[in-house]
């Protein structure tokens, strides 16, 4: 008895939730939908007279955010996974006019932008109709049945219709929402061509990552061979010799042992530097936030830190982010003549975002083979991107984004 009662309560709760979700979909398709579409369409002709370069990226990026929201809702509410089709943001987006032009070109040449707009247009009627259907079915069904039973008892011809509406509202709701998610997927998911392009990019970044890690291993091998290993050999030799002469020439033995101790100290120093380059111990001990704090303490200029991470990124992402931040701060120290710098780390929309700025002279140009290219390659392995703005006269601001999941913060 109580089982069926709780079953009914559960069905009621689920139905209510489905209706609410449907109404949210209906409202979203109209309220941000119409203004976004209108703003985008109206700003495009302004490109012809030049002033469009400001509103076009703004409105098109807002459209992307709206499309992204729908992708998340489809996954969360209907388990329909819709991949992101966009082309990667151009590297080194700069400030000012050129940067805006670059952004416009990036957005306008991406077919996914136009499919987003088409989706917003079609979603206005479709979203309202499908979204409102569950709630409408239940309300109409209940009102119809009640009025049929009480006000007009003899007239029962429409009863099946109202009963059908009610059943659709209660049991068909999730199906209806799923249909809306699937409709969205048709326009919001990447096309075959875009998927191919993505695969191409992934292949490229994978082979770069493989190359980079092979080069890294070679470097470690060489460092060990020429450093710690050589020193341990000399250490063994000194001790061996000391053993030989201990009885006959204690003074020489003493000298050799002192040399041996020195070799062991140098071997340890070599190993310490090597370990720092592979994975800094403080990163293992304290995570990204602690490691960047420790790094900031050792730099010759004050670094203001604003770090808000609700958890820890996976170890490889943490390491890539740490080395990228360290490299950029090293550049600040070396080149910018800055008096202070700042680092901001945050996590938003499934991305780890690092922004590093300084009050130096600006005019930083990423060179082929320079440190920034190295960072770019390292981040590309994680689908991460980096952008530098550095107008002459400063300030230089470097922004990095790394998609990742956070695990719960360790205490």
């Amino acid at each position: 008895m109580s089982d069926s009662a709780s079953g009914v309560r559960r069905l009621g709760r689920l139905t209510l939730r489905t209706c609410a979700r449907g109404l949210v979909i209906a409202v979203l398709s109209v309220v941000p939908g119409i203004p976004l579409f209108v703003a985008s369409i109206l700003s495009l002709p302004l490109l012809a007279v030049g002033i469009g370069i400001i509103p076009v990226p703004m409105s098109l990026l807002a459209v992307r955010r709206r499309a992204g929201q729908q992708r998340r809702l489809a996954l969360e509410w209907s388990r329909v996974s819709i991949a992101t089709p966009y082309r990667p943001r151009p590297h080194e987006v700069s400030n000012g006019l050129i940067g805006r032009l670059q952004r416009c070109k990036w957005l306008l040449t991406d077919p996914a932008t136009w499919r987003d707009l088409l989706w917003i247009l079609v979603d206005m009627p479709v979203g309202v109709a499908l979204g409102a259907l569950p709630a409408f079915g239940i309300v109409a069904g209940v009102v119809g049945l009640l009025s049929g039973v009480w006000l007009n008892p003899g007239h029962l011809k429409q009863l099946p219709l109202f009963l059908g509406l009610l059943l659709v509202g209660v049991f068909g709701g999730p199906r209806v929402l799923k249909a809306h998610a699937q409709f969205s997927a048709v326009l919001l998911a990447p096309t075959r061509k875009e998927l191919d392009a993505q695969v191409g990019r992934l292949n490229e970044s994978r082979s770069q990552a493989v190359d980079a890690s092979a080069a890294e291993l070679r470097r470690i091998e060489r460092d060990l061979h020429d450093g710690a290993q050589a020193r341990l050999v000399s250490l063994g030799m000194s001790i061996g010799l000391a053993e030989q002469v201990l009885r006959d020439d204690p003074d020489l033995a003493l000298k050799l042992l002192a040399e041996a101790r020195e070799s062991s100290g140098q071997a340890l120093t070599d190993l310490r530097h090597l370990v720092r380059g592979i994975h800094p111990p403080v990163l293992a001990e304290r995570g990204l936030e602690g490691a960047i704090r420790a790094l900031a303490l050792t730099l010759p200029l004050p670094v203001d830190l604003r770090i808000e991470l609700p958890g820890r990124p996976p170890a490889p992402v943490e390491s890539a982010a740490y080395f990228a931040v360290a490299e950029i701060l090293a550049n600040v120290v070396k080149h910018s003549a800055a008096r202070s710098a700042w680092v901001q780390l945050e996590y938003s929309q499934a991305r780890l975002i690092a922004i590093i700025g300084d009050d130096g002279a600006g005019g930083a140009v990423p060179r082929i083979g320079g440190g920034l290219r190295g960072i770019e390659r390292r981040l590309a392995a994680f689908d991460g991107v980096i952008a530098v703005t550095s107008p002459v006269g400063g300030p230089t601001v470097v922004t990095m984004e790394l998609p990742c999941e956070l695990s719960l913060a360790r205490t």
Partner: protein, 214 residues
Amino acid sequence: MRVVLGEDLTLLRDGLIRLLTAYGMEVVEAADNGPALLHALITHRPDVAVVDVRLPPTFTDEGLKAAIEARAQVPGLPVLVLSQHVEPLYARELLSGGRGGLGYLLKDRVSDVQRFIEAVRTVAGGGTAMDPEVISQLLARRARDEPLSRLTPREREVLALMAEGRTNAGISARLVVTEKAVSKHINNIFTKLDLYRGEDDNRRVLAVLTYLNA
């Protein structure tokens, strides 16, 4: 002298016990993980603790945390922290836990037995023993520190050696100057850092703290 040891690697733990015992110290407990170390520090209240930063169960900075926590519960508990790497950040965290003997050294330093034992005794006696590596990392960023920018390069050298835990005699031997010259430098340092009153030893510690906390 009663010592509590915190070190998880058997090889190093046995070596340290042998070393300390050879110099007449008594290792009352050798803990091999963070919680056991904290418990040992609080129950034994040793004359000095020698602690590895990285300990089980997390293999992160368990030892450092235990040392800081123990100093919070037993104010002034002398602790000498050992590690395979040194971070000025950790030095600062240790120092922010109040006064009293404090050391932070690279594990390599153990191989210079004489100086290591000296450092253990300095810490037990309430002094500081900072690794030259910590100090050189701090020197790299010296330019930005206000009160310390008043010191001459020579006075900074003297202060750095004081932070390592050296005596006036040790400093004079290292810099090849007379002890009198050293104490003159030290007086200048005290004046420039506004440390007028109090006993000499206390001012010494305060000067070092200014230096390391900058």
